[in-house]
Symmetry: C2
Subunit: 332 residues, 2 copies
Amino acid sequence: VEHAKDIVDLLRYDEDTAGGLMGKELVKVNENWNVLTCVREMREQATNVQRVHSIYVVDDENRLKGRLSLKDLLITGTKTPISEVYIPKVDFVKVNTPDVEVARIMQKYDLEAIPVVDELGRLVGRITIDDIVDVIKEEADKDFQLAAGISQDVDADDSIIDLTKARLPWLVLALLGGFISVKLLNGFSGAMQHHKELFFFTPLIAAMAGNVGVQSSAIIVQGLANNSISGSLFNRLIKEVLLSLLNGSLLALILIAGSHLLLGVSYEVGLTVSISLISVIVIASLIGTFVPILLNKFGIDPALATGPFITTSNDICGILIYFTIAKMILGF
Amino acid sequence: VEHAKDIVDLLRYDEDTAGGLMGKELVKVNENWNVLTCVREMREQATNVQRVHSIYVVDDENRLKGRLSLKDLLITGTKTPISEVYIPKVDFVKVNTPDVEVARIMQKYDLEAIPVVDELGRLVGRITIDDIVDVIKEEADKDFQLAAGISQDVDADDSIIDLTKARLPWLVLALLGGFISVKLLNGFSGAMQHHKELFFFTPLIAAMAGNVGVQSSAIIVQGLANNSISGSLFNRLIKEVLLSLLNGSLLALILIAGSHLLLGVSYEVGLTVSISLISVIVIASLIGTFVPILLNKFGIDPALATGPFITTSNDICGILIYFTIAKMILGF
């Protein structure tokens, strides 16, 4: 009966909150007891509890006051009042704290269990680190899938229909993005007469734009997830521009040499493609960096931006920049 | 002095193994003691131990025999011999077990702590679930970064030089792949005379090949990481072909309609591109599925295959298939 009531209680809370994650099995003692009463009561409670994580101390109204370490209990005299030995500093979360936030707190402070209180500060449950392991794993899996353009939690053994539902939307997005690039290239078809080689380089430019964008966004997405991004947006802008100028210039050197030696392209076209490549890399890395930051500001999961979304928009921008620069230099 | 010796001991083990991960602080009791001796000894030991996770039971040679639950200790009479109350079934790992394997075991069996034994079965340490949280987090971060073409563990606040070292190698790979696609397109330049539109579709085809490949590989990589892939390779092949035929056909319909209505391309070219698209999607998803499986067979981290490696090779294959089919149909 007690058990059924517990489950009904837990069903009240959203699955993705501390309330939905917590267990009700815990050992608690009253601040007014002494160590002896405490041990006797704990023996009683412990028979109903699978594992003893922490001993929580509450007042007469069941409000969380602090915790008692098992260690202290083992080494303290039996007549000592609990109020003298308990540790008043105790981390806790509220029933409506999101599970991801609980995970962050427990990881940050290296906690093995954390008590959960209701709106009035009353102890209602506890979350252990093994519940959190699942949250962390799921969150990481979700980010990985989003970054790969898979919009639902699926695995290799799901049905073809489920897999299609998870994969097709992103492919349709990429296809529509592809239409835009066809339209753009059509607009630059005048270049075919004198500089048809330019069209041979479009997949190369698009691929570089996509790869750089994904790299930049992955680093920002992880930084946001781990709360490890410091400094102003302006400093980040400067850094990203410098980084991509450095990478872009090194790649441009390889491109100039390679396109002349391996592919027999004229230096004029080689230089044009190289200048475009540097510009495309700078823009792609800025898009990759700031789209996730923007999404995050608006409360949208920034991991969305690591996948087909960033590669598709960078393909389009890359091709546009490439042919615009080529037109300026070669004048077709 | 004890502490310094502990650290020297721990340095003997590889960082990525149970030995490198374990702590030496633990509470252990001899199987020949009774509950009273046990509690007295534990009080002694507990003063040196930050947190009491489990009580391990050893024999006179320090060989791990089992464990004692705190709960049982709280509810058992003081004169009971330990040999009567301890639980002989205890999960453990060896000092040279890889950390990722330890994480898998602890997650699978929902363990909060696991004892570590040496080659002779002697208890040498214990690993707690919060150590494992870091392993899981690092492993997930590493996979995410590999999939994004970042080859070292870097974060947004690292120096430009470190970020370049992590990013440039993959970009060079993508650039070299780009050279191959330039060469291929050059080989098909005969098509320019009558079917220049074909060249407008290359970024679209390459993007679809890349996206499908990344999706397929991400699903397999996660399946491999979670040990959740069942069934024979042949069944997987059939499933992947069916899945990509379904996705490919739906996308091809959109492509035929869109390329005619939006882009004004002839039905002949639209059909050619669509047939190519289906073929490219099938091949890309097979590459995405089987490259990670192959890498895994050879002991290489399959997450490597989710990133620029798969997009670059799929770009090349995609373009080759596309123009080969176009040549067969349109005959330029």
